[in-house]
Subunit: 271 residues, 2 copies
């Protein structure tokens, strides 16, 4: 059992709190019984399981450790104190993992009926990104395409906010230029943007069944060069003094409209 916070393995894992280190290694850190169980259940590739036996109380968690051990996952036992140093939670539960990141190349993306993708330009807040992943999973979406300087989906705040949806969705990162070339080559796939200046009410537009929803950054929204690329740009109406919604909220409002239309279509209510 590792009892020193100065241990090299411990220092290496702590460094995964930094994006640079996550990108260099292709790894990320997650903690807590529920999220570790979900990662295991979804077949994510564990590099190391970290266990603090003094802290780990639940039978469920111990069974999880046993299953992972049997599957050949390397297990690092650490003292309660060392675990506290690794953890970013209050009252850490004594289980965490270092897991391999999983990225899909843009070329492998296929946009299917009723499984929307969300493309995000330069999303800055990892909590927003995690919340978008959580909502996209709830409406049966396929994945997100992160354009240009977007935050890292493997940031601890994003992992936390995604509530496991991270493991169900495809993640793609690319430049706007590559995305533009790619979307132009897709046939039968609509790119839908949102803008406060658009004429088309988001609630009155009949969404095609194969689509990518493009959302702008928190600060700037979509730029003219984004809007030009879109097949349709929709507006979410607002009556208060606010001139914009939180990014995760705006994305959810449009995604649920798309989802509701699909549900009505599948019931034969709409043509």
């Amino acid at each position: 059992m590792i009892t020193s916070p100065a241990n090299e393995q411990v220092k290496r894992i702590r460094r995964l709190q930094e994006r640079k280190e996550r990108e260099r290694t292709g790894l990320f850190f997650l903690e807590g019984i529920r999220i570790v169980a979900e990662a295991a259940e979804r077949g994510e590739a564990f590099e190391t399981l970290i266990v603090s036996p003094d802290r780990l109380q639940s039978d469920f968690a111990w069974k999880l450790v046993e299953n992972l051990r049997r599957n050949g996952t390397p297990i690092l036992e650490v003292s309660s104190l060392v675990f506290e140093r690794l953890s970013q939670k209050e009252g850490p539960q004594g289980i965490a993992a270092v897991v391999h990141q999983r990225w899909m190349p843009l070329g492998a993306v296929s946009v299917e009926n009723g499984k929307p993708w969300v493309a995000l330009d330069s999303v800055a807040d990892p909590g927003n990104l995690g919340t978008i992943l959580r909502t996209l999973d709830a409406v049966g979406g396929a994945g997100v395409i992160l354009l240009d300087q977007s935050t890292d989906p493997y940031d601890p705040s994003c992992v936390r906010a995604s509530m496991g949806a991270l493991f169900d969705l495809h993640l793609v990162r690319t430049s706007f230029e590559q995305f533009r070339d790619w979307i132009k080559r897709q046939t039968g796939v609509a790119l839908i943007g949102t803008s406060g200046a658009a004429k088309q009410d988001y609630h009155d537009f009949p969404y095609p069944s194969r689509l990518v929803l493009l959302m702008g950054s928190e600060r700037l929204g979509l730029q003219p060069y984004h809007l030009e690329l879109c097949d349709e740009v929709v507006r979410i109406p607002m009556v208060g003094r606010s001139d914009s919604l939180n990014l995760a909220v705006a994305t959810a409002v449009v995604l649920y409209e798309i989802f509701n239309q699909q549900r009505q279509k599948s019931l034969g209510v709409m043509p």
Copy 2:
């Protein structure tokens, strides 16, 4: 000009970062040109305006300072260093204010046509609360009723996330018992709850024009004693592995459905 961070006024303002101190004094702290301007524009009661002349660059901001000075607002000039100690932002702009909180008593609440209220049980995350305020303002809502152990809307994270909507909405805090007695006395006002176990799809329910939307806490959702009180409980459908949405997202999805129905009604599209 105050140049010492140990100054009593500076220490007093810093203490407003703590909820206990905000509750004791009925004051809160806000910072940044945009939000101070919005508070001034909406006629919020300023206790003190804080200005760091070295930091304050914009003409717009200096005009704002001049207007507030002319209205008799006490102005505290502080050094760049002192301002940094007061600020919770990166790159602080040199303008902040101490403002009086504004609470509406439950007895003064009147639920009007097309102006929904949101009642929140024990909402924990101030960012979620701020995002809910921002969305509620966008759909023309009237205010929020915070039940039991809810977070403080005057928490800096909530003030920030609300993007000024805090100044447009009524804020009420009360116990569940008082809320229950109050809602029972309201005639023609529907209390609508949400639950994953409800049968009624949120999208198929015709929302009455006078309503209070009751949302549960992030961790627990609505409890049986909440659901019992509701006139209707609706469910937001989900198809992924997620069994819940982020609280601010769930609130937004239902609020926009209510808003869309109102918009269609006013166009005469729906009966």
